[in-house]
């Protein structure tokens, strides 16, 4: 037990030091930081423009001798600025996971060390556990640094300090982000330890990423009846919420299929979980953490379930090291 633990922690330590030396992790982390910062700054600037437009409209109304209360002021909900930030985690975070999973296998296959490692008194479970622990530490560090950057950005841009409740929400989203990215890490590692050709494994992982992260949510989103008209069909027609619900009840099958397509995407589950906790989804705005988590726990369960399935395949499917060479 102790020797297995020592072996796994040695592999994990080597994973971290190897990854730090490669440009792949640096490129993806840098890209993640840049994208996150761009999203945050753009969101802040958009809010700033909204405030300016509101002030101009308010001044005009006062000049005309009318009451300015007819137009609501733009609300500043600090965590809402993270919308783009979360969406980039969905897209680029998943790529980071795939790249780390691919690298973890490629580094052994490229040097033809995989066969050698597995001839040593080391079980496949220990080997995979070591790889997993090392890369989870890397994913955790990158994501925590990214979310810390987000929190600092909000405080600097908004000129407000985040409360303990808001920081806890960020921490819960960070944990979900690690699980979400770990799904793609496990996918990248599984395919790279399974497929005969390494570049094919990387591209197959990218093809799955395209399907799950971009295409499934895209189909669900574009099929949404309310997204067929710029500004929303119900708002354009001037239909109130209760009537909207009554009309949509006639399209239950259509809605079930549409939602089913969205449910197939882990990205959508991560998004729903995060949007609920940050209050981006209006109905959760101002609700306590416990109530939000209780309502959206199934999204986290989907993510954890997906990761468990992939890890089971990684741990229990025997590696055929004779075919896992460089090419």
């Amino acid at each position: 037990m102790t020797s297995s633990w020592t072996a796994a922690s040695t592999i994990a330590g080597k994973e971290v030091s190897d990854a730090r030396r490669t440009s792949l992790l640096l490129v993806m982390t840098g890209f993640m930081f840049v994208a996150g910062l761009v999203a945050l700054i753009v969101a802040a600037l958009a809010l700033h423009d909204e405030v300016l437009t509101y002030n101009e409209a308010k001044a005009q109304l006062i000049e005309l001798g009318k009451s300015a209360t007819s137009i609501p002021p733009p609300a500043f909900v600090p965590l809402k600025l993270l919308r783009g930030f979360i969406e980039y985690t969905e897209i680029i975070g998943a790529v980071l996971g795939i790249v780390l999973g691919y690298r973890a296998a490629a580094i052994e296959r490229g040097r033809n060390t995989l066969a050698l490692i597995l001839t040593r008194p080391l079980t496949q479970t220990t080997f995979i556990a070591g790889k997993l622990c090392g890369n989870l530490a890397l994913i955790g560090a990158v994501m925590t640094a990214t979310f810390a950057l987000g929190a600092i950005g909000i405080m600097l841009i908004g000129g407000v300090s985040l409360t303990a409740d808001q920081l806890l929400r960020l921490l819960i989203i960070d944990a979900a982000a690690v699980v979400y990215i770990a799904i793609f890490f496990a996918l990248g590692l599984l395919l790279s330890l399974w497929m005969k050709s390494l570049p094919h494994a990387l591209l197959a992982a990218f093809a799955i990423w395209l399907g799950l992260v971009l295409i499934a949510p895209q189909i669900g989103d574009t099929l949404d009846p309310d997204n067929q008209v710029a500004g929303g069909v119900f708002r354009t027609l001037g239909i109130a919420k209760p009537d909207e619900k009554a009309i949509l009840a006639s399209f239950k099958t259509y809605e079930t299929i549409r939602d089913g397509i969205e449910q197939a995407s882990p990205a959508k589950h991560f998004e729903r979980w995060s949007f609920a906790l940050t209050g981006i989804k209006e109905i959760y705005n101002g609700q306590p953490i416990g109530a939000v988590v209780a309502d959206r726990w199934n999204d986290f369960a989907w993510l954890a379930g997906g990761l468990t399935v992939l890890l089971s395949l990684l741990f229990f499917r025997r590696l055929d090291f004779t075919r896992l060479t460089k090419d």
Binding site: F31, L203, I215
Partner: protein, 326 residues
């Protein structure tokens, strides 16, 4: 004894154009033996097949919502607005194609462009080619020709599938102008895919690592698809995937006016989406709306610029160190 030797005609080197054709046909055969290229192409074609149905189904549902909203509006005593489903062009059923071309199509083009050069570098045939009477220019032109042929064949097939689905779907009648617009849409799509394919080819030539040769064009594509549209028109990353949301006019502001003026010409995906939205007639473009001429010119300039970069990179390529590091 006198020996009679028949004069031997010197072997004329093949014309550069025939070399380019030869290289292009060989490159295409090798590329389409690669299963990943075939998978991505198959994925793209599958989405082409369903895109018209998805668009038609969404428009059909929109019409259904309107029909059910009419009695509600009448009961409220409101004026009945025009049916939004009847206001859109029949080609708008293909609006999802803009997303699939910019996602799957562009990724397939990047992979194809990378593989066209990468296959030679990995198999070690580059030093052999370099020792033959084949000029580097013919080689580069042949590879680019292979990319053009592959992209255009793919899009012709997609256009035929789209045309058939449009004819078969109920309630869709296309006029001559619609057919012309469909052709224009595929012309613009070809420019988009060729640009990204060439970017993939460029990095496959200049980089020493195969993984980075794939990762850097993918990063550029991610930047063009998500980051630049956000900087130039405040489009959230996931909204960029929705053909309607991606072209909605955002909140006007001095920051976005400046960024769209400076970064707009480099925001290739925004330009593609804006041109496609105008051609297919589903929304009038947004912050990034630009004329057909300026959009097409930007793409032609990018294609020529990257093609020249490939020619230069292939000419300067060290054949003795052609294999990738990883």
């Amino acid at each position: 004894m006198t020996s009679i030797t028949a004069p031997v005609a010197p072997i004329a080197p093949p014309a550069p154009s025939s070399n380019a054709w030869l290289i292009a046909s060989a490159a295409l055969r090798v590329a389409f033996r690669d299963r990943t290229v075939v998978w991505l192409t198959a994925m793209f074609l599958a989405m082409v097949l369903v895109s018209a149905y998805l668009g038609w189904s969404a428009t059909h549902t929109l019409d259904g919502i309107f029909q059910r909203a009419v009695p509600v509006l009448k009961a409220m005593g409101k004026i009945i607005p025009a049916n939004p489903a009847s206001e859109v062009s029949p080609l708008s059923a293909l609006r999802n194609m803009t997303t699939y071309v910019s996602l799957l199509g562009a990724l397939a083009a990047i992979v194809l462009g990378t593989q066209l050069i990468g296959a030679d570098r990995k198999s070690g045939v580059f030093p052999l080619i370099a020792s033959r009477p084949v000029s580097r220019t013919s080689y580069a032109l042949g590879k680019m020709l292979a990319l053009f042929i592959a992209v255009i064949s793919l899009l012709v097939f997609a256009a035929v599938v789209n045309a058939l689905t449009m004819v078969l779907l109920p309630g869709q009648t296309l006029t001559f102008a619609d057919w012309r617009s469909l052709t224009a849409f595929y012309g613009v799509s070809a420019l988009c895919l060729i640009a990204f394919g060439l970017i993939g080819m460029y990095f496959a030539t200049v980089l020493r690592s195969e993984s980075m040769a794939l990762l850097i064009p993918v990063t550029i594509w991610l930047m063009m698809t998500f980051i630049l549209p956000q900087l130039t028109s405040n489009t959230n990353p996931m909204n960029a995937l929705n053909p309607i949301k991606a072209t909605i006019v955002p909140t006007a502001g001095s920051f976005f006016d400046i960024t769209s003026a400076i970064l707009g010409p480099f925001s290739l995906m925004d330009i593609y989406r804006s041109l496609s939205a105008t051609i297919l007639g589903f929304t009038p473009g947004g912050h990034m709306a630009r004329s057909m001429l300026s959009g097409v010119t930007i793409y032609v300039v990018v294609i020529l610029f990257v093609a020249l970069g490939i020619l230069r990179a292939v000419r300067n390529f060290d054949a003795s160190r052609s294999d990738y590091n990883d």
